[in-house]
């Protein structure tokens, strides 16, 4: 894929080989992609959506997971169980009614709709994973901090959060990943080119660019780059999250 994006167009249509004979150092495919399509805009859309999803997911899932593990909450097993249940829902089952709801609210075809839709996947995941992390953290540590004069908030930010940082990072990564790679929700909820996220934008290029494989492969490479970077720098969290069986896919 990366190879194809670097090939000169002429060679793309010759008999294909696995290794290109020459590399197009002009990056023509990339230039075309960035100058002639909505790709840069959709790249920004994807980044905005993914970051918003990560922030919302972290706030809500930290609160729920923390309270559920630290306080007596009636029906807490049910809350956590329903999170796991929700996390296994068919995405399309949520997407169809969500579109109907957003259409009524006048939010259809907007980035907000996509963010909220992605949160239906990421919040259950976040609560589920952080629940595991907060649960095993000894309460004594916080209590000691509070006895020493920390407020509960202080104890949380100075003791609990630093200790559960790996969990928080893992949740952020997987929320980002889910949002960045999601096709189903964005595809159903967004119709105008200006609000498309990358995966949907790229998929719709297939139709509009007839056999422009060079550009398509350039686009595919660019989508994958943030993931490769994250993987290189934060790889161990990926493995940890996967081992915890923690991703929908």
């Amino acid at each position: 894929m990366i190879i194809s994006s670097l090939r000169p167009e002429k060679e793309l249509f010759d008999v294909p080989t696995l290794i290109p004979k020459t590399i197009d150092w002009q990056f023509t495919s990339y230039k075309n992609l960035l100058e002639l399509t909505d790709y840069p805009l959709q790249f920004m859309n994807s980044i905005i959506v993914a970051l918003a999803v990560v922030v919302i997911t972290l706030i809500i899932s930290i609160i729920i997971a923390y309270v559920v593990t630290r306080y007596r909450v009636p029906g807490k097993t049910m809350i956590v169980g329903s999170m796991l249940y929700a996390y296994m829902f068919p995405p399309l089952m949520l997407a169809i009614p969500l579109l109907s709801i957003f259409a009524t609210l006048g939010l259809a075809d907007s980035l907000i709709a996509v963010v909220l839709a992605h949160c239906t996947l990421t919040i259950p995941l976040g609560v589920w994973m952080l629940w595991g992390f907060f649960k095993v953290m000894p309460f004594d540590l916080e209590e000691a901090a509070m006895v020493d004069g920390c407020s509960r908030a202080g104890a949380f930010f100075r003791v609990v959060l630093p200790l559960s940082l790996p969990g928080v990072i893992t949740v952020s990564i997987f929320s980002f990943l889910l949002s960045w790679t999601d096709y189903v929700f964005a595809f159903v909820l967004v119709s105008s080119d200006l609000n498309k996220t990358l995966p949907v934008g790229l998929a719709s290029l297939i139709g509009s660019f007839d056999a422009r494989w060079g550009e398509l492969m350039a686009g595919a490479t660019l989508i994958a780059i943030p993931l490769f970077l994250m993987f290189v720098f934060l790889g161990r969290y990926f493995i940890k999250g996967l081992a915890a069986g923690a991703i929908k896919g």
Binding site: I96, L116, A153
Partner: protein, 295 residues
């Protein structure tokens, strides 16, 4: 464990209630709304609805296409799961040893899983392109002619299955690999002393030890494979002539392309019910309480 006492506890309590309500709104509301939609007839999401009761369900269940989609889903789901699990275990066993460069290889193994489905679909379409695709040309050189991958129902199904297995096998590999590390080496050694060969060590030590987690993997994979929409949609759109159309695609086509929102919602609700059965099986075998104490 404590009650909500101090003022900061009160703030937290309200933050908690607000968060839970947001989640309920985001998740429960759509599900209820889907069920509600399935009792109405409407042509689009903004047009008027008319109550038809169970009419949508009766109509759907009487259509051949529903049963065809169900069986396509079962074939796709079962084949992909069997292949993923077998290949995943094979890779995990292969990687569960020491040789140079292993961490890099272990890392690379999960990459297909991280790629966006769109990218996977594009790569497969490119390789299978009718005139320029690498695989098309290879098959021509092998004297098999130029297969029209997406027009032959069996080939299309094969392509969809291969692409899915390629993408989701790493999940099985990584989970199984992590579990393999938990088996005490002494078990293998004593089996070896008792004269057990490679195969019998695998069948009598590895498999029984990992059976519980294998069940979790298979259940989770089934739940997600029966839900897969994007990979099939991007590769074949359910075609040729609904040869690869399973329930999610049927629901989508109903609701969005055939102006039958109620029908689409009914299909979605039915597949949701079928899936809930699987999820209940999961909860039956892995109750949350047990997970709580195992930590």
């Amino acid at each position: 464990m404590q009650g909500f006492r101090t003022s900061s506890d009160k703030v937290l309590k309200w933050a908690f209630i607000a968060s839970v309500s947001v989640v309920l709104l985001l998740i429960l509301l759509p599900v209820l709304h889907a069920i509600q939609l399935s009792f109405y007839h409407s042509e689009s999401f903004v047009s008027n609805k008319s109550w038809v009761g169970l009419g949508n369900y009766a109509r759907i269940l009487n259509e051949m296409i529903f049963w065809k989609a169900l069986s396509v889903g079962l074939i796709f789901g079962c084949l992909t799961i069997i292949l993923q699990v077998c290949l995943g275990i094979a890779f995990a066993l292969f990687l569960d040893r020491n040789f140079p460069g292993l961490p890099i290889i272990r890392g690379l193994v999960i990459l297909p899983y991280l790629l966006p489905t769109v990218v996977v679909a594009l790569a497969f379409q490119w390789m299978l392109d009718g005139t320029l695709g690498l695989l098309t040309i290879w098959s021509e050189q092998l004297g098999l002619g130029r297969p029209s991958w997406f027009e032959n129902p069996y080939l299309a199904m094969t392509v969809v299955i291969v692409a899915s297995v390629w993408t989701w096998t790493p999940f099985v590999t990584v989970s199984f690999l992590a579990a393999l590390q938990t088996i005490p080496k002494s078990l293998y050694e004593s089996a070896k002393v008792d004269g057990a060969g490679m195969w019998s060590r695998f069948w009598h030590v590895t498999i029984p030890m990992l059976l519980p987690m294998l069940m979790v993997i298979i259940l989770l994979r089934s739940i997600w494979m029966f839900n897969k929409f994007d990979i099939i949609w991007l590769l074949t759109k359910g075609g040729p002539s609904s040869a690869t159309e399973h329930l999610p695609i049927l629901a989508y086509r109903r609701a969005f392309l055939q102006y039958d929102v109620g029908g689409g919602a009914a299909v979605a609700t039915l597949s949701f019910l079928l899936l809930s059965l699987l999820i209940l099986v999961y909860f039956y075998y892995y109750p949350l309480e047990e997970k709580e104490s195992s930590h």
